[in-house]
């Protein structure tokens, strides 16, 4: 970051601190609950958007069906939880179901148009229409709400200042951190991660080094889609499932990766925190204009750092 950029960042952080000091003095309970809500929402956004950014970083493929995979994972998780009653099984099923769908999309369609980014993107748009309508057909437009597992049901009481807070929402935060750490371990410490990182930097060299690039692509696409599905199951409890949620999460993923920097997992984490906080604070303090905050952040980032805060030149 250039010195001017650093100064801007410093000013922004200071302004944020001042505003939070005012918020704390004004109504500490509201402020802290909003902060927690924002961070837990950010965790969900991070889980979904990290899959999006992984796929984009490696394949330069904007998967606009990502929101549909989120919804698909959510519905699969819902069906499994209804049938078996095991929440953990539902999460695994959501992950695997979406990962399988992603694998099929990659193998059957996207592989045949490698390098044609625009065409790939259009194909994913078509897929999102088709998947969305198939899900609407299968699950109708009814609102589906998943029950949280018993051991996470109900509030945690006796927290200073906040009094009570939903245990499930807090667990989202844990989920986000665990998945973030897992991704960091996978990318930084394993052989597959090294391949993925090498592929992000230079696909041709990776292939020349004797790595089966197609397999790495398929793996990454599966992982990305699976993360969307996992997010779907987790989000199904908190946000409920209904046609239209796919768009919402797709938009969130888009903004998160645009703000944070495309192809960077740490950028996704940063973007998710910014978006989550902006949305919840906007809703709490200025309800009719909460979208405007999100939009302003997007515009500011694009105007001053077109590649996102942590983005690198392609």
């Amino acid at each position: 970051m250039m010195p001017a950029g650093r100064i801007t960042a410093l000013v922004l952080v200071l302004a944020g601190l001042l505003l939070s000091a005012w918020g704390l003095a004004h109504n500490p309970r509201l402020f802290l609950i909003t902060l927690l809500n924002g961070l837990t929402l950010a965790a969900l956004y991070f889980i979904v958007a990290s899959g999006f950014t992984l796929v984009f970083g490696l394949m330069r493929n904007v998967n606009l069906a990502h929101g549909s995979l989120y919804l698909l994972g959510g519905y699969i998780g819902y069906a499994v939880a209804e049938a078996s009653g095991w929440w953990m099984l539902a999460i695994a099923a959501g992950f695997l179901g979406a990962a399988l769908a992603g694998f099929l999309i990659q193998i059957l369609i996207l592989r045949h148009m490698q390098g044609e980014e625009l065409r790939q993107t259009m194909v994913t748009i078509g897929l999102s229409i088709v998947i969305g309508d198939l899900l609407l057909w299968a699950f109708t437009a009814q609102v589906h709400q998943m029950e949280p597992p018993e051991w996470l049901d109900g509030p945690i009481r006796d927290i200073p200042l906040i009094r009570a807070y939903s245990a499930y929402r807090l667990s989202l935060l844990v989920f986000g951190v665990v998945i973030g750490l897992f991704l960091w371990w996978l990318l930084a410490r394993t052989r597959v991660g090294a391949m993925i990182r090498a592929g992000v930097d230079d696909r041709a060299m990776l292939s020349a080094a004797g790595v089966n690039v197609n397999m790495v692509f398929a793996l990454t696409f599966m992982l990305g889609a699976g993360l969307a599905g996992l997010g779907g199951v987790i989000g199904a409890v908190e946000l409920s499932m209904v046609p239209g949620e796919d768009t919402r999460l797709l938009l969130a993923s888009l903004i998160v990766v645009i703000v944070g920097g495309m192809g960077s997992v740490s950028g996704a984490a940063l973007g998710a925190v910014i978006l989550g906080l902006a949305e919840t604070f906007g809703l709490a303090y200025a309800p009719t204009y909460s979208v405007v905050f999100t939009f302003l952040i997007l515009v500011l980032v694009l105007a001053f750092r077109p590649r996102g805060i942590l983005g690198r030149p392609a």
């Binding site: 330069r60 904007v62 606009l64 369609i109 980014e117 625009l118 065409r119 993107t121 259009m122 194909v123 748009i125 078509g126 897929l127 999102s128 229409i129 088709v130 969305g132 309508d133 198939l134 609407l136 057909w137 768009t247 797709l250 938009l251 888009l254 903004i255 990766v257 645009i258 495309m262 309800p287 009719t288 204009y289 909460s290 979208v291 405007v292 999100t294 939009f295 997007l298 515009v299 694009l302 105007a303 077109p306 590649r307 392609a314």
Partner: protein, 387 residues
């Protein structure tokens, strides 16, 4: 048009279309020194641009160009025009209004994307939002069923609607052209969806979920444009004007430079062109087309709600553009016509609920097997026939 095509077209233009060329020079006489630099690397007859003999007589060049344009008219153009003019008498009111007028209005919005994508190489998913900006402006400033409408005369509301459409399109363009290619699609989609949520959640300006009902076309000189026949001809006139505007623009120095920017932005920048300015200007022009289509669409529907600019519609514009083919402005109207026909008659062929499935599948098939859309299918067929 590939770089080679473009170069060939430049050469051909320099050889044959002398009056037209001169008009370009006249139009851009202020920047004729820039024109000198615009010669592509491929060889071109000397002095085609340089001999600016008619700089002082633009009107002469204009008439020459008009005569030339008339001379270019072929039988098929006349036949198509006659068919379009006679369409209301061939079909009934339902066909005229529901199919004809709707396809023309949607085609206008699609044309804005075809122009941006086909000639500028920028796929914007925010075109329906731009149309929505114009539509909402007309509803807010003009008369509607909602109390917060200001009730201005229709011409003022329309003028402001188009103005805001151009402004917002330029703004979206200015922000999104800072990034390239594939990023554009994401950023414009984010803008479009953000505008949808803004219109949905804001009650003081956009009237929230209900939007604006009873936004009707005006009555001018005793002709009520709410009736199918006058409205059809209004749409037809706007669509023809927009079509000719695009056809004309792509032959102007600006249009040719824009296609150069699409094919090789780095080379154009090296030649001294302001790449960003060309792209933003293209967004602005596309905003005008989309705004015009948006105003017509509001009058057609008689209402505007957040549902008119939701993600489904943002994507439908792309579906129509790809369906018809982005290589020619005609594709926009063709795509819109097929879309409207499918939408209207889907109920007879299969379950109406599954319209999205069908349109998604058709879109997928087109993208997978005919990247140039229906126009590509047609030209491919013709090539095979003549072989």
């Amino acid at each position: 048009m590939s770089a080679a095509h473009w170069r060939r077209a430049m050469n051909r233009g320099a050889g044959q279309a002398q009056p037209l060329r001169d008009r370009f020079v006249a139009a851009a006489s202020a920047s004729s020194s820039v024109l000198q630099d615009r010669s592509p690397p491929g060889g071109r007859g000397p002095g085609a641009f340089g001999g600016a003999t008619t700089v002082g007589q633009p009107s002469f060049g204009f008439w020459q160009a008009l005569m030339r344009a008339l001379g270019m008219l072929r039988l098929r153009h006349l036949a198509a025009l006659l068919l379009l003019l006679a369409f209301p008498w061939i079909g009934n009111d339902f066909l005229t209004y529901q199919i004809g007028a709707q396809a023309l209005a949607l085609g206008l919005i699609t044309l804005s994307l075809t122009f941006l994508g086909g000639y500028g190489g920028m796929i914007s998913l925010a075109q329906m939002s731009i149309a929505g900006v114009a539509g909402y402006t007309v509803a807010i400033l003009g008369a509607s069923g909602a109390e917060i409408s200001l009730g201005w005369p229709w011409w003022a509301a329309v003028a402001f609607g188009l103005g805001f459409a151009v402004l917002s399109a330029s703004f979206v363009g200015w922000l999104s052209v800072r990034t390239e290619g594939i990023y554009t699609i994401m950023i414009t989609l984010a803008f479009g969806v953000a505008f949808y949520y803004l219109a949905l959640q804001n009650y003081s300006l956009f009237n929230g979920f209900q939007g604006f009902q009873r936004v009707h076309a005006p009555e001018v000189f005793g002709v009520s444009f709410r009736k199918p026949l006058p409205f059809y001809f209004l749409c037809l006139a706007c669509a023809l004007a927009a079509y000719l505007l695009v056809k004309w623009t792509i032959r102007t120095p600006f249009g040719i430079a824009l296609q150069g920017v699409r094919d090789n932005p780095r080379r154009m920048a090296a030649l001294g062109f302001d790449v960003t300015a060309h792209r933003v200007a293209a967004y602005g022009l596309a905003g005008l087309l989309a705004g015009l289509g948006g105003v017509l669409l509001v009058w057609y529907n008689g209402l505007i709600t957040p549902g008119s600019i939701n993600t489904g519609w943002l994507i439908n514009v792309l579906v129509m553009a790809v369906l018809g083919g982005m290589s020619h402005p005609l594709g926009a109207f063709l795509g819109a016509l097929v879309f409207v026909l499918l939408q209207t008659f889907a109920i007879d062929l299969f379950d109406r609920e599954r319209f999205n499935l069908v349109i998604g599948a058709v879109f997928l098939l087109i993208v997978l097997f005919s990247p140039d859309g229906l126009l590509g299918l047609w030209s491919g067929l013709r090539k095979r026939m003549t072989k």
